[in-house]
């Protein structure tokens, strides 16, 4: 089994096996024979005007797959949806990436794709929130915004000739601090309306990047540009900044409470468990797993123990069979 390299005792092995078999039987009824491997021919019933999509090619008049995956049909279009593959960027996707290089007027980000993405200085809001032309001074101060190895959240803007362009034109994008970055296979993340989640009860921000990078971090109140600007101005008007008070404030800001840190670890471990089991990652699933662990009074580190893996798999099997019955 991929990735699952945990010692299981005999009963756990049997239980896990049974849960996984149940999952398999549930899905095999849904779509049989849809999976293909490299060079399998895809039956198209001699229809005319079939459109060949991703992962297909033509050989001797029949359509063959070039990758392993699931055949999907949308009207006349036939394509193969890959499972394990690198992230294929689509315009508008919300992604999380890591800065690997600060280049002239741009940052280069690793986003688990076939190429590095480029975030131009001009396609992101400046920290002071003012709309203006970027000057040479801004360019020199780029490292004060993002440095190498910083984790950044952004949106795919488009594919230009010289690579993948990103943009971060809102307060919700930008540098991510005080949290954990998890990397999972991108096929486990589905496109949804919401990729930013504020988990109120835990005081945590969860960003499920479409590229399989997941950010779990302390909740940061989204600052409204206008308000902050006003506050800033009024502050400047009334009192001069005291250096000592500023540093204290700074300290307070960078301090994360123990409880929040534990919550971050708990959620991160839930994601780890789900991704090693190969289950799709969504907020509901993550929250379910977290509440399962806390209802069992499991410690954070115990979540990565073999027993919890088995429990999560069993729960998933039960849940899926229930939703199936409802339909």
């Amino acid at each position: 089994m991929r990735g699952l390299q945990i010692p299981l005792n005999q009963t756990q092995k049997v239980r896990l096996q049974r849960a996984l078999e149940k999952l398999e039987s549930l899905s095999s009824k849904a779509n049989s024979n849809a999976s293909v491997t490299v060079a399998d021919s895809i039956p198209v019933n001699y229809e005319d005007g079939i459109l060949k999509g991703h992962g297909t090619s033509e050989f001797n008049g029949e359509i063959t797959a070039t990758i392993c995956g699931i055949v999907e049909r949308v009207n006349k279009l036939v394509y193969v949806r890959t499972l394990r593959a690198r992230y294929k960027p689509e315009v508008g996707d919300i992604i999380v990436g890591r800065v690997i290089e600060v280049a002239p007027k741009r940052w280069r980000l690793d986003i688990n794709s076939s190429q590095d993405a480029v975030l131009m200085l001009s396609s992101m809001n400046l920290p002071d929130g003012i709309q203006r032309r970027r000057t040479a001074v801004d360019e020199l101060n780029m490292r004060s915004i993002f440095e190498e190895n910083d984790v950044v959240c952004a949106e795919i803007r488009g594919l230009q000739h010289d690579g993948l362009q990103l943009q971060a034109r809102s307060q919700k994008y930008g540098k991510l601090e005080r949290g954990q970055l998890l990397t999972i296979s991108p096929y486990l993340v589905k496109k949804r309306k919401q990729h930013f989640h504020h988990l109120d009860q835990y005081g945590i921000d969860l960003i499920i990047g479409r590229n399989g990078f997941i950010w779990v971090g302390e909740h940061i109140e989204a600052r409204d540009d206008m308000v902050e600007e006003q506050v800033h101005k009024s502050e400047q008007h009334t009192t001069k900044f005291d250096i000592t008070s500023a540093s204290l404030e700074e300290q307070e800001r960078t301090y994360t409470s123990l409880e929040t840190r534990q919550n971050i670890c708990r959620i991160a471990n839930a994601v780890r468990v789900l991704s090693t089991l190969g289950f799709i990652i969504s907020v509901e699933k993550i929250l379910d797993t977290v509440s399962l662990s806390s209802s069992l009074n499991l410690g954070i580190h115990e979540m990565l123990g073999s027993e919890f893996y088995v429990l999560v798999a069993e729960k998933e099997a039960v849940q899926r069979s229930l939703t199936k019955e409802k339909r």
Partner: protein
């Protein structure tokens, strides 16, 4: 009684020489791993080592009386000593049943072997009953086993076993090109690195990396894989394939290519077709499928074929000896059949893996 090592060696030689003398054997080659003893026996100088004086004089006397010679042998090759009595009885033996691993034999033994006519050391690779050394039929493959997803960090990975040969492959990419000057605007750059683990062979390897053989195999694997990857779909990126041999028992090239195919398919890299590979050879006027180490090191013709089963095309053909055309066609046919069998197996495990991933993922 406490005995010096040299003394013990001398005693042993003395007893052995008495036995050999009684057996009335003719030309005997003595192999001894103690340099000291060899020097004492073979030198013509006056004896000056007093504690073994008695033994030394007796042995010298026997060596002068008989057409015997004594040679020093490296301790690593002690197991050969056991085999050499069979050589000395050269009128009686036709078939030597020990592993002649020619690369580990020291020069002195090599000379010794060459002093006999090669017909004497011809091995029997196919028994009269039609069985090979490891009990297979000539057209039988070793057991194959493949496992996808052996490494967590790689984009694609696989372990492939053919009998005792075991290879692990990892694929990284398509990813940003590391060396900008190698970047291609139309297609992906495919790189391959082959290595052998130090513990993969019978005796531990000293320098496992960067020799000419591994460079050649890297190139062969790269070319075979590049031919089937649809590189034009991934411009300005690079794909790295790493293969490492964990256990070597012949057919390394084939196992590496099969492992690389599995890993590439696991990484979701688009390919024209699966490349599968198998070797075949020709020994004792029989075509043999999937040679193991002993058969491979017999020095006979060895044909490695890389084959695209769907397109019915060959991407790799290597042969390191000469063969008549009609026999070559037979051997090649046999190797191709082997490739097809491997392809069926690989397809099966890929499909199973895909189904499993999909069913786990759910809706």
């Amino acid at each position: 009684m406490k005995t010096e090592p040299h003394m013990a060696e001398m005693k042993a030689v003395e007893w052995a020489s008495a036995i050999v003398g009684d057996l009335k054997l003719g030309k005997v080659v003595w192999l001894c791993d103690s340099m000291n003893t060899v020097n004492t026996v073979t030198s013509k100088e006056e004896l000056c080592v007093w504690d073994t004086f008695l033994e030394a004089t007796i042995i010298r006397g026997r060596f002068e009386a008989n057409p015997w010679t004594m040679q020093w042998i490296n301790r690593d090759q002690n197991y050969l000593v056991d085999a050499f009595p069979k050589f000395t009885l050269k009128n009686n033996f036709t078939f030597l049943k020990f592993d002649v691993r020619r690369d580990v034999i020291s020069p002195c033994v090599k000379n010794f072997l060459q002093s006999f006519k090669p017909s004497f050391i011809e091995m029997e690779y196919v028994s009269p009953e039609g069985l090979r050394l490891d009990g297979r039929r000539p057209m039988e493959m070793r057991q194959i086993r493949g496992e996808i997803g052996a490494l967590a960090k790689a984009d694609g990975s696989a372990v492939f076993e053919m009998g005792n040969t075991k290879v692990i492959a990892a694929v990284y990419g398509p990813r940003e090109v590391q060396n900008r000057s190698q970047q291609m605007n139309e297609q992906a750059l495919v790189r391959c690195e082959y290595s052998m683990a130090n513990f993969s062979t019978g005796d531990r390897m000293r320098k496992p990396k960067g020799d000419r053989r591994s460079t050649e195999i890297s190139l062969v694997i790269r070319q075979a894989m590049e031919a089937c990857i649809l590189t034009h779909l991934m411009p300005r990126s690079q794909i790295d394939i790493f293969v490492q041999v964990l256990q070597a028992d012949g057919g390394i090239r084939s196992a590496c290519i099969n492992a690389a195919t599995l890993a590439l398919a696991d990484a979701g890299i688009p390919m024209r077709d699966l490349v599968t590979s198998c070797s075949a050879g020709y020994l004792n006027s029989t075509a043999l499928l999937d040679l193991n180490y002993v058969e491979d090191s017999a020095g006979g013709p060895d044909v490695t074929v890389g084959y695209l089963p769907k397109l019915d095309k060959v991407t790799l053909l290597q042969m390191d000896a000469k063969l008549p055309l009609d026999i070559f066609e037979n051997v090649m046919q046999l190797a191709t059949e082997g490739c097809k069998a491997v392809a069926n197996y690989i397809r099966e495990i890929l499909l199973e893996n895909t189904k499993q991933l999909e069913s786990r993922r759910g809706v």
